[in-house]
């Protein structure tokens, strides 16, 4: 009797899982089948054993055939259901079944820095010729099960990601590889210090150059939350996992323009799940992951020990591969990698090789090089590039030539110049008249060869007078089209500060869109900045041949894209250009709101990376002026998400090379870009009346169940929380930027 009871509860679980997968009781009358099992459980002591077992056999056959049928054609929405099922394996199961032993760091269970993020020091072992070899690894991942009521469903709070970062650095110090496990629907959207977006940005920035092998496994990868621990050398993904830019429900709410509180149509959610291309196969095709780890047809559950064995094998193999690729002994490397490639489906009992996961300095260099190359290559080919092969070839030759020129001009000669200057200064500082006499002709000769660049006087540069308004002469040049209306507007702070009504031509003309009473900044179009911020006629756009496309074939997106192209006359939401501020040349990447709300896709990411590279090669300061950004473009799926690590990688390399990277936010800046290549800047400023954050109020309300104050995302609050470093008045943008260029930045800038 006991056996039959156990069998019945197992059957009930299997049916419940099918109900989870199919999203309800309706499919093939699963509800009735579950009722049958429940009534059998109820009547277990009233029926004879033989008839019970006969019934159980009948139901089991039915369940098995339904499982086979369900697995034959799984829709993307059903895959999302699998991942969300309470029976799916979690990180705790992996720690127990894949690793030999582990010690949780940063707290255990409820008493934890952030229970949604688990960090553990673990050992993983392999067998070779009946001998066991253990490796030390750092395991970092999300946990959504085991006491789920306090784990926020695997949504990491900012301090959870900070904990992850801390132990990434520990692993780097100890020289052990890191295994990341991504089980998150997204990050917990709160701005409390250190801030959701800012902390994710810091994590990605650190991971870009972390000197240790990293392997990640994705089961549920929700956008920014996943990226916080997702940048790795090899990215594995469960065959029944999903990796997406947004949840299908979130996409449906945006696409269907569903109001808050209204019910989402099931068909729309399913449609969006299919459009987002979130399955493992889709992601492999798009190149956003490296390999798929096969799961059972309906997904691995907590007791799928065969799957855990496979996962252990795949993790060891992936770490081996990362390590082997860094080896300088090519023959051995190729031999070892070939063995791995020759393996077919089965998981062998023994390994052929034991590979030491320690890396030497040159190997670490190579690891970082490979990582950089890997992320730079991602999403290439998923944007439009209008150029013939000859133009491309010419461009490459031009790049190479300018690279050599700047290397000689500001690399070799400048370092030589610095050394000479240093010697002269040291000798001169002795103060000896005799020596001074000797050095004066040398210095004169030197200055003749290397004339000093004209430094700016206190008030300006290149002959500009002191206390001259930077806008005075340029006001006439460009007038915002907003100023052409004959009417007045009221400042939103009128009731608080008694601001007088403003005549529109005054406000958008003379006042630069700023309320003279309270200083509230009314939004101005991006062209205003192009005209007023930089030296007259100095803006020279590049990368215009890179255009946004619809790489996933997202239904209905193409026509909207074309409409935006026609309306704005631009083909992506990013403008990259060379410009000058009081004769200092700089490279600028600008996201503007008119085109797809300033969202970032493959084209924008590529333009940003190229601008970053241009700034690095030409040794110019790099400004990211964010007129508006709505986040990552959902219509490009994970191709958009991987712009986060891709662009951060470029920024990191630029900053490491001694450049100056300044970010200035304006209007509204939210989500992915802030949580990666913008948030990682050490110099982030905001124009007054700007709103900066990770997720908007609606998302916060829907995720946390709590309302946020109206000024939650204001620049003032962002400054108080330490997310930005200053608030600038629009009228002083140019002056402040010039000050920043003169006072901040590394030694590699040409004008320093």
């Amino acid at each position: 009797m006991k056996d039959s009871s156990k069998l019945l509860s197992q059957l009930a679980e299997r049916i419940a899982y099918l109900i989870d997968v199919k999203g309800g009781l309706a499919w093939k009358d699963l509800g009735a089948l579950l009722d049958d099992v429940q009534s059998l459980r109820r009547d277990i002591y009233e029926l004879d054993e033989a008839s019970i077992f006969a019934e159980i056999d009948k139901i089991r056959d039915r369940v098995s055939s339904l499982e086979r049928e369900a697995a034959e054609s799984l829709s993307p929405a059903e895959i999302v259901n699998i991942v969300r099922s309470s029976q799916r394996f979690t990180l705790s199961d992996i720690l127990e079944n894949v690793y030999d032993s582990f010690t949780e760091l940063g707290g255990d269970g409820e008493c934890n820095v952030d229970p949604a993020v688990v960090v553990a020091r673990a050992t993983i072992s392999r067998r070779m010729k009946n001998k066991t070899y253990s490796h030390q690894v750092m395991v970092i991942g999300h946990e959504k099960g085991r006491g789920e009521e306090y784990r926020n469903g695997g949504c990491a709070r900012p301090w959870g990601n900070a904990k992850a970062l801390r132990y990434m650095k520990v692993a780097e110090t100890e020289g052990i590889p890191i295994h990341f496990f991504i089980f998150t629907p997204g990050s917990f959207p709160i701005e409390d210090y250190p801030g959701a977006a800012q902390q994710i940005a810091r994590n990605i920035y650190a991971m870009a150059r972390l000197k240790t092998p990293m392997v990640s496994f994705i089961s549920e990868g929700g956008s920014g939350g996943a990226e916080a621990i997702g940048l790795s050398d090899i990215r594995l993904m469960g065959s029944r996992g999903y990796y997406s830019v947004i949840s299908p429900e979130g996409a449906a709410a945006i696409e269907g323009k569903i109001r808050e509180g209204e019910k989402l149509p099931k068909e729309l959610v399913e449609h969006c799940a299919a459009q987002l291309k979130l399955t493992a196969q889709d992601n492999l095709r798009l190149g956003t992951i490296d390999r798929i780890v096969e799961e059972p047809p309906l997904g691995a559950r907590r007791d799928d020990y065969v799957f855990f064995r496979r996962l252990r094998y795949e993790l060891i193999r992936a770490t081996d591969e990362v390590v082997l690729k860094t080896k300088s002994f090519r023959a051995f490397r190729a031999y070892a990698l070939n063995i791995r490639n020759a393996e077919k489906e089965g998981v062998p009992e023994d390994f052929d090789l034991v590979i030491n996961w320690d890396l030497t300095e040159p190997e670490i260099e190579r690891l970082l090089e490979l990582r950089s190359k890997k992320y730079r290559e991602m999403a290439k080919g998923f944007y439009g590039e209008e150029a013939t092969s000859s133009i491309l070839g010419l461009g490459k030759a031009k790049d190479l030539a300018s690279q050599s020129y700047y290397e000689i001009r500001y690399g070799l000669l400048r370092s030589h110049q610095r050394n000479v200057m240093k010697v002269i200064e040291e000798v001169s500082s002795e103060g000896s008249v005799l020596l001074n006499k000797v050095t004066r002709p040398v210095r004169a000769a030197y200055e003749f060869v290397f004339p000093r660049p004209e430094r700016a006087s206190k008030g300006g540069r290149g002959g500009m007078q002191e206390h001259v308004s930077i806008f005075a002469e340029e006001w006439e040049a460009y007038v915002s089209p907003l100023a052409n209306e004959d009417r007045t507007v009221s400042c939103p702070n009128a009731s608080k500060y008694g601001c007088l009504d403003l005549w529109v031509p005054d406000l958008y003309g003379e006042f630069c869109g700023v309320c003279p009473t309270c200083g509230h900044h009314f939004p101005l179009e991006y062209r205003w900045y192009l005209e007023h911020l930089f030296d007259k006629g100095s803006v020279e756009e590049f990368n215009t041949n890179i255009v946004s496309i619809n790489p996933l074939g997202f239904e209905g997106f193409q026509s909207r894209l074309e409409k935006d192209i026609k309306r704005t006359g631009r083909r992506s939401s990013m403008i990259t250009f060379d410009a000058k501020i009081q004769n200092i040349k700089l490279v600028v990447a600008m996201l503007f709101g008119d085109f797809r709300n300033g969202t970032v896709g493959a084209a924008e990411g590529e333009k940003f990376v190229r601008a970053c590279d241009r700034a690095r090669i030409t040794r110019r300061p790099f400004l990211s002026y964010i007129h508006t950004t709505g986040g990552i473009r959902i219509h490009e799926g994970t191709l958009g998400v991987i712009q986060m690590p891709k662009c951060t990688m470029a920024v990191r390399e630029y900053i490491d090379s001694g450049g100056l990277y300044i970010v200035v936010y304006d209007n509204n800046s939210y989500a992915g870009p802030v949580a990666s290549f913008l948030g990682c800047s050490p110099y982030q400023f905001a124009i007054r009346s700007t709103r900066i954050g990770f997720a908007g109020p609606r998302v916060i309300r829907e995720t946390t169940g709590e309302d946020v104050p109206p000024d939650y995302h204001s620049a003032k609050n962002a400054l108080k929380r330490g997310h930005i470093q200053g608030i600038w008045d629009r009228r002083e943008f140019r002056k402040n930027l010039y000050e920043a260029l003169m006072t901040m930045g590394g030694p590699n800038l040409y004008y320093k």
Binding site: S490, D501, P709
Partner: protein, 215 residues
Amino acid sequence: MADINLNDLLRSYRSHPFEERELVTPHTGIISFQIKEGQEVRGPGGKWLHKPGTLLYILERERNVKKITAPCGGEIIKIRHELEGGFVEAGVRVLSIRHKLTKEEIVDRILKEVLIIFRAPENARYFLATDIASKLEKQPRAALVVKPGDEIIIMSLMKRDTIITYDGIGGVIYKTYFEPGSLVEQGAPLLGVCPPEKLPYVQKVIHRINTEWED
């Protein structure tokens, strides 16, 4: 403190539990009403009162359309229809809202009239004095009598704790307006002290309002 007959006060609230608010135009413009007499309107809502109330009227000046919303909930009375479509100056009475006072509002008003309010001298964090806090912890409903010269509150500012002595008319601490340890702005009420002879009346009236009053 004015000598107030609490029963009379309560009676007056009972006979007329409303407050009539006259709304005046905040600035000039051409007015167009968006409500009718007798219509129920709601005031600002949300946790931070960030959701505006019902739209009352629109003022337009120099093609600048300003929407004026209800500052409190209630029934619209006395709309000055003769102004509709015309130009009005700032500060002109345009309509009135009859706002029904809630239980809390009445209690608050009565307490404001009866209690002696002790206000925060600085922008700082405030705590109750140790002996008062410990007494309250033991007996939360105890009547704590204060007299002039008593040390009642600790002001915590710039890592320095300053003990503040009470200098008003002696009485019972009836209401604490702050959370211990929270930031209080200068001039905000900290304590409401009730003179001992008024205490039984106040308690009785508050009790009666709480039990009998219907919102």
